[in-house]
């Protein structure tokens, strides 16, 4: 029997651990994508928990630009803007 996975949207998010200051604004905006681990550093719990707009808002809310958003269809980095990380 084959299984299928459904991806919501085309944005992939990553957290740069060294930049995370535990502000948790990403968690507040997209709690089904981000969580804090035991060290209070943001981690990804699912790429599919929220739509692209919410994932991008969560990344834009990070005061240290610790969240990177990539368009998986084009490979383009959506956030932070190039040269601003």
């Amino acid at each position: 029997m084959s299984t299928q996975t459904k991806q919501i949207g085309k944005y992939k998010v990553e957290v740069i651990r060294d930049k995370c200051i535990s502000a948790a604004s990403c968690v507040a905006i997209a709690p089904k994508v981000f969580a804090l681990d035991e060290a209070e550093i943001a981690i990804i719990v699912s790429q599919d928990g929220h739509d692209d707009e919410t994932k991008l808002l969560a990344a834009q809310s990070c005061p240290t630009m610790a969240v990177i958003v990539t368009n998986t269809e084009t490979g383009e980095r959506v956030w932070p803007p190039q040269g601003e990380d």
Binding site: S25, A28, I29, L56, Q60, P63, W79, P81, E84
Partner: protein, 233 residues
């Protein structure tokens, strides 16, 4: 959490560091929130956002107030400083879980703030006293450096006079000789005053204060579930 458009209605500069910003909601025109929650403001055309605690009480759903220490001059401070009256901002709200839980098993609520960490406490304490008629003892310890940094003193004193269960303790780390109240850090102020029985603690401010006070309280036997925190960065 939803997106809102709000416009700047009023700017009130309390002193050289702290300015209060009042926003009127445009679309939608009502914001339901709980005291202690915050908003995320879009502060650049690129899309960068910054979070600020709401310092007004939730009974006014047509507007919200923020208080900022503008002296660090960061992105959000610069944006708000340059914002003109009537200009619109994009807001995500309400956000956060730093609330006074309704079922909190405590007889005394102790609020400990440094700097603009006082913002959510303005909303929470007024909401508990005025809107919820909370009869429990409520104490506020607020740490600042200089007397000229303090603001809302009339409001705190009025609450102190109106509600016999409210107690206000400002503490200055660089107090002048004439200062008769607490000196040092808020943790020194907490150490001077007798620790109330069966109290819950709300800590808001810089990370060092939160870590130090949490360690002190846990060392004194206060349960972790009775220490609620919100870090400002």
């Amino acid at each position: 959490m939803h997106k809102y458009i709000a416009k700047l209605e009023e700017k009130l500069q309390h002193n050289v560091k702290y300015t209060q910003f009042s926003f009127e909601l445009i679309k939608p025109q009502h914001l339901e929130f709980q005291a202690g929650q915050y908003v995320s403001l879009k502060v650049s055309n690129k899309g960068e956002r910054r979070s600020y605690s709401i310092c007004s009480t939730p009974d006014n759903q047509h507007q919200f107030d923020l208080i900022l220490d503008l002296s660090p001059g960061g992105l959000g401070s610069q944006f708000l400083q340059q914002l003109e009256f009537g200009e619109e901002v994009e807001v995500l709200a309400p956000m956060g879980q730093f609330l006074v839980p309704e079922d909190l098993p405590a007889d005394h609520l102790v609020f400990v703030a440094t700097g603009s960490g006082i913002a959510p406490f303005k909303a929470m304490i007024e909401d508990q006293l005025r809107n919820k008629q909370d009869q429990r003892q409520i104490t506020l310890h607020w740490g600042m450096r200089h007397p000229e940094d303090l603001f809302w003193l009339d409001e705190w004193e009025k609450l102190d006079e109106t509600f016999i269960n409210f107690h206000f303790h400002p503490v200055l780390s660089q107090a002048p000789p004439a200062w008769t109240l607490c000196r040092g850090r808020v943790i020194d102020c907490l150490s001077i005053h007798a620790r109330p029985a069966n109290a819950a603690y709300f800590l808001c401010g810089n990370q060092t204060m939160i870590a130090d006070v949490s360690r002190l309280l846990i060392g004194q036997g206060v349960g972790k579930e009775l220490i609620l925190t919100e870090k400002f960065y």
